[in-house]
């Protein structure tokens, strides 16, 4: 396998896992890891959690491990700007990198609030630099406005409350998280904010973010004016595919891939938040922004890129978690809309389990502080369990719990 060149673009979770998997699979040719950020690969979930509370954030691997043990050439602080799939080259900085196998792992970038360019105190939360700025502002006692009641925005609000600061969340939709968990459960999650003393305002938009050089206030579409020293936009992310314009790859809310993460161009595979691949588990294309799938896809894409003749499909039951006010929200599967049924606890309480039905299949499960249950549902969904099996399982758990009382 030597003599061939393996290039990975995007030096974060999926990119790192691609490099590690290549070596684990016995590939001993040259590896180049190209990343736009100046930092060594680091973990993102802590950025809106422990890091905001003051914890350190070490890189996943030290520079020596990447260079010496994994034998990767590191090209950091350098964004790739073009891909030529005919010549088999990636352009980055002043250089051109030839590849025989390529993994695209450029992830996603945070959407920004329109008209806030250059205004100090307005941040997104995607990178270590973003998180550092938000943490510094929280340290300084900033009056905080979060725009968007999604998972990341909610975690920022939670961090602010943990420090005893007042915080307001402005959400344009009448109910938060509808796309992620549906109407009823979106409302159930939102209740956590209110109970923790966060001022959640739904169904109202941001008219303008104002200030002289530094943010001073947020003007809402209902005329309300909120004083603010820190504004965090948690309004979603878009796949980082700009550099692939003109490459001939199919781009449609991400790099479109088949079930083996193959893009259709010889040797080119994609992984992580940037990839929209066909997930055989649900028989449809999906693009996830979840830690677990990014890590796993990175490894699968590398192995497939290096040995396409035996490329394996990547099939998964999506999983993500989010930590709010000391509570853990976990979701597995897809948020199907045929039926959502709460099978344990109640939407107003500190614990619940909700199941999602698609046709006669169990398609998803959401828990609040249901750590001991969530993975059992993931197992059921992976085995293609029927809706009735999901309900029976829930029934057995309930009776077992009753007996224990």
């Amino acid at each position: 396998m030597s003599g061939r060149r393996f290039v990975v673009v995007g030096a974060s979770l999926a990119g790192l896992r691609a490099v590690e998997a290549a070596r684990k699979s016995g590939f001993d040719g040259p590896i180049t890891l190209i990343g736009a950020e100046p930092h060594l690969p680091y973990d993102r979930p802590p950025l809106s959690k422990a890091f905001l509370d003051g914890a350190d954030l070490p890189a996943f691997r030290g520079e020596e491990v990447l260079r010496d043990e994994l034998g990767a050439e590191l090209v950091l602080g350098t964004a790739a700007t073009a891909l030529d799939t005919t010549a088999g080259t990636v352009h980055a900085g002043e250089r051109e990198f030839g590849y025989d196998a390529l993994v695209i792992a450029t992830g996603a970038r945070a959407r920004t609030l329109q008209g806030t360019d250059g205004l100090r105190g307005v941040h997104t939360l995607r990178t270590r630099d973003d998180a550092q700025a938000v943490r510094r502002a929280l340290d300084a006692g900033a009056r905080t406005v979060v725009v968007g009641a999604g998972f990341i925005g909610s975690e920022v609000a939670s961090a602010a409350r943990k420090r005893g600061r007042d915080v307001t969340i402005v959400e344009a939709l009448p109910t938060p998280l509808v796309r992620a968990v549906g109407q009823t459960m979106g409302a159930a999650c939102a209740a956590l904010h209110t109970r923790a003393g966060t001022d959640l305002r739904c169904g109202v938009g941001v008219e303008a973010v104002e200030g002289a050089g530094t943010v001073e206030r947020v003007r809402l579409t209902d005329g309300t004016v909120l004083a603010a020293d820190l504004v965090v936009a948690g309004i979603g992310a878009v796949p980082a595919t700009g550099w692939l314009a003109g490459s001939g790859l199919t781009l449609d809310d991400g790099v479109v891939c088949d079930e083996t993460l193959f893009t259709g161009a010889p040797g080119v595979y994609a992984a992580g938040d940037v990839a929209r691949w066909h997930n055989p588990m649900f028989g449809r294309h999906m693009r996830l922004e979840h830690w677990t799938s990014a890590a796993e896809q990175g490894a699968v894409a590398a192995r497939n890129a290096l040995d396409p003749a035996v490329a394996k499909p990547y099939s998964t039951v999506p999983y993500f978690w989010s930590d709010w006010y000391g509570s853990r929200i976990q979701f597995v599967g897809v948020p199907a809309t045929d039926e959502v049924r709460v099978v344990d606890g109640g939407p107003g309480g500190d614990h619940f389990v909700a199941l999602y039905r698609e046709g006669d299949r169990l398609a998803g499960a959401l828990t609040l502080n249901g750590q001991t249950q969530i993975m059992k549902y993931r197992g059921l969904i992976a085995r293609g369990a029927a809706w009735t099996q999901g309900l029976e399982f829930a029934g057995r758990r309930r009776s077992a719990a009753m007996e224990r009382v």
């Binding site: 677990t292 999983y319 853990r328 197992g379």
Partner: protein, 63 residues
């Protein structure tokens, strides 16, 4: 093979449980419980995946 858990790292995310349900379980309080410390041959592949899949790198396998 024996499983070593770094309890300072584990945050109870349960990915290990979904990969090797016979070996790992997260309890009601959100804490990981090892159902067995030694790994049978049948569980080995799942446990290997769990070691790799744990987001906090809290798991190790020792001979």
């Amino acid at each position: 093979m024996k499983i070593i858990v770094d309890w300072n790292r584990c945050t109870g995310l349960g990915i290990c449980e979904s990969l090797a349900p016979g070996v790992f379980e997260v309890d009601d309080a959100g804490d990981l419980v090892l159902l067995s410390e030694t790994v049978s041959d049948g569980d080995l592949e799942g446990v290997r995946q769990a070691v790799e899949g744990c987001p906090t790198e809290a798991l190790r396998l020792e001979p």
